[in-house]
């Protein structure tokens, strides 16, 4: 075990771990909210995230091309990419709810059936993106656009819009503007979501449906609307995560959702599935632990560390670290 490496790079490993963890946490919110309301693992949520990364990528490419842009224009481009990613992910999440889940739940299908439907939807969405050069050719898109959508099975990188400045040192590590942007905006999004669910009327309706769907219906909550809203919020968060991921990692691929999705799901279970604050805690712990673990054992052990951590925590706390559900979350 390489303790020297861990201690010498402790600050860097921790800060980048937090940045990764914040992205995991944003995706985890989608898993945890849908689980809280429907007791269903939305396995296609990873694809909701993946489509967001492409929306961010394409928007940036279309607006920037290969030229250098001024700082002000760069900020504008990034904002557009963020909005596009959130809109794309939210749309995919709503389509999933409408076509992969609602018809099944309406007929009172067992949750297992919905789970299979989710896995199927996940493959379809990923493969559609994997075939996108052919799909684009089929639609006869113009050269400019089909150049962006081509090469469907290879990594696509994001043009860098803003210079990644070194802001301030922690220990030996110069914290960069991307690190700060990712961590701060992820936490801001999560606080906003938490407040919305706790304080707004719609949020109260969602929590009521999570605690007791029949009684919530007796209060006049439109269950379909509450479920839709849950998918919408999860999609928006996954879109924001996708944008931040593209800032930090800068490349994406049609199957990028798989590992990220599994990690985010792990974060959700780690923190206590159904619990919004648990998703944040689980995500951050997972991100940091992975980085420390890969420093100690070598980077090929990164995923092993993540899943061993999950198993160990569940052995001692089967309901996760915070362990209460969305429904029971108090105001």
């Amino acid at each position: 075990m390489n303790f020297d490496f861990l201690f010498n790079n402790f600050a860097e490993l921790t800060v980048t771990g937090l940045a990764f963890g914040a992205i995991y946490a944003l995706i985890a919110l989608g898993y945890t909210m849908v689980y809280g309301v429907l007791q269903l693992i939305n396995f296609a949520h990873s694809e909701v995230f993946m489509y967001g990364t492409f929306a961010a990528l394409w928007t940036t490419m279309l607006l920037v091309g290969d030229t250098d842009v001024s700082t002000l224009r760069g900020i504008g481009v990034l904002l557009c990419s963020l909005v596009a990613a959130m809109a794309m992910s939210a749309t995919i999440a709503l389509l999933l709810e409408r076509f992969a889940y609602r018809p099944l739940l309406k007929r009172n299908a067992p949750r297992l059936i919905a789970l299979i439907s989710a896995i199927g939807a996940s493959f379809v969405l990923a493969e559609l993106m994997g075939l996108r050069d052919r799909v684009a050719a089929w639609f006869g898109l113009d050269d400019n656009l089909s150049e962006y959508v081509s090469g469907a099975r290879i990594n696509r990188s994001m043009p860098s819009v803003l210079e990644n400045k070194q802001l301030f040192p922690i220990g030996d590590y110069q914290v960069t503007s991307v690190d700060v942007l990712v961590i701060v905006s992820a936490i801001a999004m999560m606080v906003a979501l938490d407040q919305f669910v706790r304080r707004s009327k719609m949020g109260r309706g969602i929590r009521a449906t999570a605690q007791d769907p029949e009684t919530a219906a007796l209060m006049g909550v439109n269950a379909t609307r509450a479920v839709q809203m849950t998918f919408l919020l999860g999609g928006l968060m996954a879109g924001a995560a996708a944008f931040l991921y593209m800032l930090k990692i800068e490349t994406t691929k049609f199957d990028v959702g798989f590992l990220l999705g599994v990690k985010a799901f792990t974060a959700a279970v780690l923190g206590g599935i159904g619990n919004l604050r648990g998703a944040l805690v689980g995500g951050l712990i997972l991100g940091v632990a992975e980085n420390w673990g890969s420093a100690l054992f070598g980077s090929e052990w990164r995923d092993v560390v993540a899943f061993v951590l999950l198993v160990v925590i569940l052995l001692f706390r089967p309901t996760g670290i915070l362990g209460e559900s969305l429904g029971k979350a108090r105001a």
Binding site: Q211, T215, A217, M219, G220, V221, K328, A331
Partner: protein
């Protein structure tokens, strides 16, 4: 008639839960359905509020056919149900539960809203003392009061009460029935489902007895309370 139920049949899978139930609820009255466990009382209420699918028959509210409306639209029309047992949202505070009752109202900051809250606290002073306590940590009786108070916050024309006395200590039972009387005197029509037949018949204008999914007797509360066979079957011989 405020509510009319005509030839209602409801199934759970292949099992008939209620069969050909017909009755009405007069505006301003207290109507009660009594009967043993499993007679179909709760199913009848849940079907009226839209939680169970109707196989046959119709439900009319103020003459409007609501048989196939989703539950939330029935709440908008003025139907409000307090569910059986501890039907509160356990993770929410008393105040949040009451706000949930008023979910379909759009006047949360108005004077009328504050007055309705005041009215609930007047009926159930206990709730005011515990306004920021989590509902799941309260006693069964307190949760029952909360469920009734919450149903009132919707300002219903018709309130459906499912076993409000279930699991309560005897002194609370008296209290809850006198509160139901008070709610009715303030102008809300009540449809009451009870196993405590003695108390229910004492308050009811009209009563129906359910046995294995069917109405077997109907009459005024006083009539049924005075009937020998009813007394023997449901009132343990003496009232």
């Amino acid at each position: 008639m405020l509510l009319e139920v005509e030839g209602l049949c409801v199934n759970y899978g292949h099992i008939e839960a209620i069969r050909d139930i017909t009755f009405g609820v007069e505006e301003g009255s207290i109507t009660t359905l009594i009967g043993a466990n499993g007679a179909g009382k709760t199913t009848t209420l849940k079907t009226i509020s839209g939680l169970r699918k109707v196989r046959e028959g119709r439900i009319l509210f103020e003459g409007k056919d609501i048989t196939h409306l989703p539950p939330y639209e029935r709440v908008l029309l003025g139907l409000s149900q307090s569910p059986e047992g501890r039907g509160c949202f356990p993770g929410m505070t008393v105040r949040e539960n009451l706000d949930m009752g008023a979910y379909v109202r759009k006047d949360a900051r108005s004077k009328a809203y504050a007055q309705d809250l005041e009215r609930v606290f007047h009926l159930f002073p206990r709730l005011e003392e515990r306004v920021s306590q989590t509902a799941g940590t309260m006693s069964g009786g307190e949760q029952q009061m909360l469920a009734i108070g919450r149903a009132l916050m919707a300002k219903p024309r018709l309130i459906l009460l499912d076993e409000p006395s279930m699991g309560l200590a005897p002194k609370f039972i008296q209290q809850i029935f006198s509160i139901i009387g008070e709610i009715n005197e303030q102008g809300t029509t009540v449809l009451l489902v009870e196993q405590n037949a003695a108390q229910a018949l004492k308050r009811a204008d009209t009563a129906h007895i359910l046995e294995t999914g069917e109405i077997v007797r109907s009459g005024t509360g006083a009539e049924l309370a005075g009937d020998d066979s009813v007394r023997a079957a449901y009132l343990g011989g003496d009232v």
